[in-house]
Symmetry: C2
Subunit: 240 residues, 2 copies
Amino acid sequence: MATSLSDQAPMPAPRPSRRPRAQPSPWARPSQRQQQREAKRNAVLTTAAQLFNERGFHATSLDDIAAHLHVSKPTLYYYVKNKDEILLACVQKGLHMTLEGIEASRQAGGNALDQLRACMQVYAEIVVQPFGMCLIRVGDEEVPEPSRTELRRMKSEIDLAFRRLVTQGVEDGSIAPCDPKIMAFVIAGGLSWIGRWYQPGGQYPENEVVAQCIDALLGGVLKRPPAPKPVARKSGRTPS
Amino acid sequence: MATSLSDQAPMPAPRPSRRPRAQPSPWARPSQRQQQREAKRNAVLTTAAQLFNERGFHATSLDDIAAHLHVSKPTLYYYVKNKDEILLACVQKGLHMTLEGIEASRQAGGNALDQLRACMQVYAEIVVQPFGMCLIRVGDEEVPEPSRTELRRMKSEIDLAFRRLVTQGVEDGSIAPCDPKIMAFVIAGGLSWIGRWYQPGGQYPENEVVAQCIDALLGGVLKRPPAPKPVARKSGRTPS
């Protein structure tokens, strides 16, 4: 039974019961734009830090950084002022990451040695990353005043955190008797040096380097005497 | 009784019985001149190294170096070509001193640990001196090629010397089981860092810093368990 099309009741047009879905705007919202800008500035800083670490600060130009990011130099100026500002931002990022990590280790609790070990871990993990490596490889002298003084203040905060934990460890007997200032510098040196010799993507995975350097510093170069055997109790029980 | 002047016998002229003593020449002899030139070039390099260490390589000008030596900049050019050449010479001096010291420690003999300890001593003593400090504070990147490759080759010779001694010490049981490459870097780091933090003429005398850093690296951060007491022999003798 054929029916004419006109017999069929027309489909009711969907009524705009709700507000029509807005055409997506090709422009990002202000909050997104802020995020994108931040991400782009971060990419500039990370690339710059990597190049400074590989070639040295003075041998790296803004053109090099722009070329690595496939943008023009004028585009960079939308995110950073100049090379000095980039270096300052990189080093500050490295320092902030370290100070935050040290504070987190402190809050995680444990005795002085636990906290020291956690701080060493944080520090070593940061010096193998671009910003931390930049902190180690580029000297403070490269940063113009007054930022240089501020950076040195932050660095000495890190030194003090290590020194405080060593002092506590010596007091509670977990750390060898020593001058805490010098011991803290030896720890910082052994770990910072990773930022000089470590080649990302090379022979050793990062976590192995970090773990081995911490062990070497904690245990020392000399072979340790075997720990004294606990005296067997005369309990009358035989081992099962 | 007046006598005429002509009556007096003239004083006999002193006869040149021996060769007349030569008037000392105000000019130095060639061999002395060479020595003086060398001493002056050395003074230029030492002053430069001190300024590079304090202010950074880029922040130090030839004018600064000349002013510190109370000479004009053109005078400097009689001893050095330019700032790059000065830096290269400073770093090379630091490296040669280190390599010679390491070779002397090796020739002094002893087991691997004795030799390692002697090498650590040499290395630490050099990084607190201007040329050694320069080696630590100024990055290789600042030295133009082909000298940079040559410097890196010399640095890796130092790394290898430490690594070889650690390997031998692990084999003879005096050094804790470890990856010798990483242990050697930890040692070099702990000692090199002195060149970053040490202030000549500051709180600690040099020899104390050197000794304490070596002890910290050898003994480690952790308190060592007491060495096991030797088992008393039943010899029948009573202690006197």
